[in-house]
């Protein structure tokens, strides 16, 4: 059993059966008072971040989690199949579990998959991915409407706002943390 002295950034604990990761923590002790550890913790299932204060010395249950690097293989119905690059073991995640991240998966993309009690609960794609534009309105010279961006659809279905000079068939660099256009990639 762990206790509050084990708390550090990235420490994973179980609260009411749900795994939480510590994103910030601070030891506090009001003058002549009870000591606490204030924490900011992230629900690893939903991504929600909450504040939680533990009494100093309080027992904590460690969460059985593990992060593994896996390669995206293919789509199978409503699910996506990944392969562990070390053990060649395959697992699948539903599109719903993947959420926005389905839009960053190209054949062979390497992602980090978080497993909780051996079940996948989350995916971290590479910070930047390069995607092909499959559809966007042509940009007009001398457009005076004041719009400096326009919508574009990428090969994975991702919708992204792009500058007017971007054309169908261009390759874009996209930041997967924000879903934002970064730059047009040459070649």
């Amino acid at each position: 059993m762990a206790d509050t002295s084990d708390i550090k950034k990235g420490f994973k604990m179980l609260i009411d059966g749900v795994p939480y990761a510590v994103v910030g923590h601070q030891f506090v002790k009001p003058g002549k008072g009870q000591a606490f550890v204030r924490t900011r913790i992230k629900n690893m299932m939903t991504g929600a971040v909450i504040d939680r204060t533990f009494k100093s010395g309080e027992k904590l249950e460690k969460a059985d989690t593990e992060e593994r690097t896996m390669q995206y293989l293919y789509q199978e119905g409503d699910a996506r199949v990944f392969m562990d690059t070390q053990s060649y073991e395959q697992i699948s995640l539903s599109n719903e579990q993947l959420g926005e991240n389905v839009h960053y998966l190209l054949d062979g993309t390497e992602v980090d998959i978080m497993l909780f009690e051996s079940r996948p609960i989350g995916v971290t794609p590479p910070t930047f991915v390069e995607l092909l534009v499959t559809e966007t309105e042509p940009g007009f010279k001398g457009d005076s409407s004041g719009n400096t961006t326009k919508p574009a659809t990428c090969e994975t279905g991702l919708q992204v706002n792009v500058p007017l000079f971007v054309n169908t068939g261009d390759k874009l660099k996209v930041d997967t943390r924000t879903g934002d256009y970064v730059e047009r990639v040459k070649g």
């Binding site: 601070q26 506090v28 009001p30 002549k32």
Partner: protein, 321 residues
């Protein structure tokens, strides 16, 4: 061949030297005498949430404890006739470690005989403003520290006296959705509300003095006519800087509180420390009505230069020792 200089360490040393020098200058200008009392004492602080380091002789017998503060001995000096005394010393508290806690830290403690907590609050305000000026005038110091809260000129300093004063009751009611009365009797919840909701909000722009603590938290403070403890703390940026008292001089009442602390320690399975009988004897003999304050020097420097931890203003915090 000597190693290249470490500018971060030199910076910390220079800043600490300015603080120590200006603290001494401040008190000497006010006719205080610098004193020394032992670090190894027969009885540490008895507050239930305080953990002291027990010291053993080479033969394994208990030799006493490292002082959690020099309070008992400094008050005994007041009983012996000292009028204005201050001390810069190391104090030790077990199991405390975080951005604002080190197990060994530098304490500034001072006492004024024939004085009240008000006099000591005024000392605190003037002292901090004085040290802040000394830091600001000490040249191009901050290599590693943010400068947001650094005072530029006298008068513009956030530390200029007087500081705003609020009671514990007002502080709780303005920052937490609960009243002091509703928290009475539930210590854990009180401290939790204080730590989570109230303290982080205290002294956001300028330091604030919090007065009128519940009598259950009087510690070594006397009670005021309104029944509250004559205790104050100063906060800046949500950090507790000091804890001061209008001192309790009634030996019988002090013994009763020590016994309560011992009982509380026993109830939670904490080691029960002995009562310092010589301190009580000296109280019995007579200690003048006094005001005293204990101020964390590492926190003071941290707050003055806008560092985000006391470790950043210590040459050898535990993690680098």
């Amino acid at each position: 061949m000597s190693a290249p200089a470490d500018p971060a360490v030199l910076q910390i040393l220079a800043l600490r030297a300015v603080v120590l020098r200006s603290v001494r200058r401040f008190f000497e200008d006010r006719d205080f005498v610098e004193v020394e009392t032992p670090a190894l004492v027969p009885s540490p602080g008895l507050d239930v949430h305080l953990e002291a380091f027990e010291v053993r002789t080479p033969k394994g017998k208990s030799a006493g404890w490292l002082a959690t503060s020099p309070e008992y001995q400094m008050k005994r000096l007041l009983s012996a006739g000292a009028k204005r005394i201050f001390q810069l010393c190391r104090s030790y508290r077990g199991e405390e470690h975080g951005r604002h806690h080190e197990r060994e830290f530098t304490m500034l403690e001072w006492y004024r005989a024939d004085a009240t907590s008000d006099d000591v609050i005024r000392d605190t305000e003037e002292l901090v403003a004085f040290v802040a000026d000394a830091i600001a005038n000490s040249g191009d110091y901050p290599l590693l520290l943010q400068q947001e809260s650094t005072p530029k000129k006298r008068g513009l300093s956030p530390f200029a006296a007087p500081w705003r004063r609020v009671t514990v009751e007002e502080a709780i009611e303005s920052h937490a959705n609960v009243t002091l009365r509703a928290l009475a009797g539930d210590d854990e919840r009180s401290f939790r509300v204080w730590a989570e909701e109230v303290q982080p909000q205290l002294g956001r722009e300028r330091p604030v003095i919090v007065t009128d603590w519940p009598s259950s938290m009087a510690s070594l403070a006397r009670l005021k006519p309104n029944g509250m403890a004559d205790r104050f703390e100063a906060f800046f940026h949500g950090v507790e800087l000091c804890n001061g008292f209008g001192e309790l001089t009634d030996a019988a009442e002090q013994r009763r509180r020590f016994q309560q602390d011992q009982a509380a320690r026993e109830a939670v399975g904490a080691p029960v420390y002995p009562i310092d009988e010589r301190f009580l004897e000296d109280l019995e003999r007579g200690m003048p009505q006094s005001g005293g304050n204990a101020l964390g020097v590492d926190r003071l420097l941290m707050l003055l230069v806008g560092a985000d931890s006391i470790q950043n203003v210590m040459p050898f915090p535990e993690e680098r020792l």
